[in-house]
């Protein structure tokens, strides 16, 4: 063995090359085995079937998710429609109650002079206007609502609406069908005829567009809704 000292270099070279060859072959074999064209037909068929199954299940999932999305958006749409309806209803109620400023066609009734008129005359006119389907009424830009107080202030000798003195000439504005409102006032033996007895001749004018302010919000302390059921 001693005299064959020169064996080490050639063996080193062969081992080096062997290692190189081994790794290259190892890697090639790995990629070769994972290559689809080298798989068995049955394996490929199985793989294909599995992929088909997976695809089908994913498609089913897409379908159910689509359906869910559709139903959700339908819910959202219904919710939005409901909210819109509720808003509209709320606004209608607020307008009816006089909580928001309103505008529309109607008539104005103007009283020129103070002396012969009493607050009951004003109330008569307003009641007649309500009776003629007026939807909103204001006296000198004070909105008349269900809780409006109209009375004669004896100290100041003035017409008072909700604590505010109404100076003359005063104008009653009413929103509604102008024809109906006017004909209501001009009924034979109606309000205007009654006033004419006292020589009061208010000026009644139809208006294309009237703007009425909002009233203050009523204070609700004791009221409770009676349960409907």
């Amino acid at each position: 063995m001693k005299r064959l000292k020169n064996w080490q270099v050639p063996v080193f070279i062969t081992f080096l090359l062997l290692g190189l060859l081994l790794t290259v072959q190892f890697r090639t074999q790995q990629s070769y085995l994972s290559d689809l064209s080298q798989q068995k037909t049955e394996d490929l068929v199985t793989m294909l079937n599995k992929l088909y199954e997976k695809k089908n299940s994913l498609e089913r999932e897409i379908f159910t998710l689509d359906e869910q999305q559709r139903s959700f958006s339908a819910d959202v749409f219904a919710g939005e429609a409901l909210t819109r309806d509720l808003r509209q209803e709320l606004l209608r109620q607020q307008m009816a109650l006089g909580l928001v400023p309103v505008k529309g066609p109607g008539i104005t009734v103007t009283f020129e002079a103070t002396p012969p008129i009493v607050y009951l005359d004003i109330i008569d006119v307003i009641n007649e206007l309500w009776a003629s389907q007026a939807e909103a009424i204001a006296i000198n830009d004070i909105r008349v609502t269900t809780w409006t107080k109209i009375y004669w202030n004896k100290q100041n000798l003035a017409l008072t609406v909700d604590g505010q003195i109404v100076p003359f000439p005063c104008t009653i504005k009413a929103i509604g069908d102008p024809e109906q409102l006017e004909s209501g006032l001009r009924l034979l033996g109606g309000v205007l005829d009654d006033l004419a007895i006292y020589d009061i001749h208010p000026v009644v004018r139809k208006a294309e567009m009237l703007e009425l302010p909002a009233a203050d919000r009523p204070e609700i302390k004791y009221l409770k809704a009676k349960e409907s059921q």
Partner: protein
């Protein structure tokens, strides 16, 4: 003694570091070539123990066997004869024989060494 192993490790390292793409079709021929290289290497190691080592024979054998094995496998494929099976069989048998020889040699040397060692110790005790 450790130089060949070092060579093997370096070769493996180079093979891992470099990416040498071999088309899938040639993988079979390369595998036969690797088998031939293994056979040559073990043959070389055997010849060392046999005291018949020849660098020229080892190197030429390594290269020609490797190339010839791959070429024969290729030829067999072209002719429709599974010649690579013959190569696998021939090289496989030889590799096992060579490994068995190397194993026996190593075992024999190890036992011999121990005997010498034991004899030396016994001699010391007697002296």
């Amino acid at each position: 003694m450790w130089l060949p192993l070092l060579g093997l490790l370096i070769g493996i390292f180079i093979g891992s570091a470099l990416y040498i793409p071999i088309p899938g079709v040639f993988a079979k021929y390369l595998s036969v070539a690797v088998l031939a290289a293994l056979d040559s290497t073990f043959g070389g190691v055997k010849s060392i123990f046999d005291d018949r080592f020849d660098a020229a024979i080892l190197l030429t054998g390594f290269f020609t066997n490797t190339l010839l094995a791959a070429l024969l496998a290729y030829l067999g494929d072209q002719l429709g004869v599974d010649l690579y099976l013959a190569a696998v069989f021939a090289f496989g048998v030889r590799i096992f024989q060579n490994i068995a020889f190397i194993r026996r040699q190593l075992l024999a040397r190890w036992i011999q060494k121990r005997h010498l060692h034991a004899a030396k110790e016994n001699g010391n005790e007697e002296a």
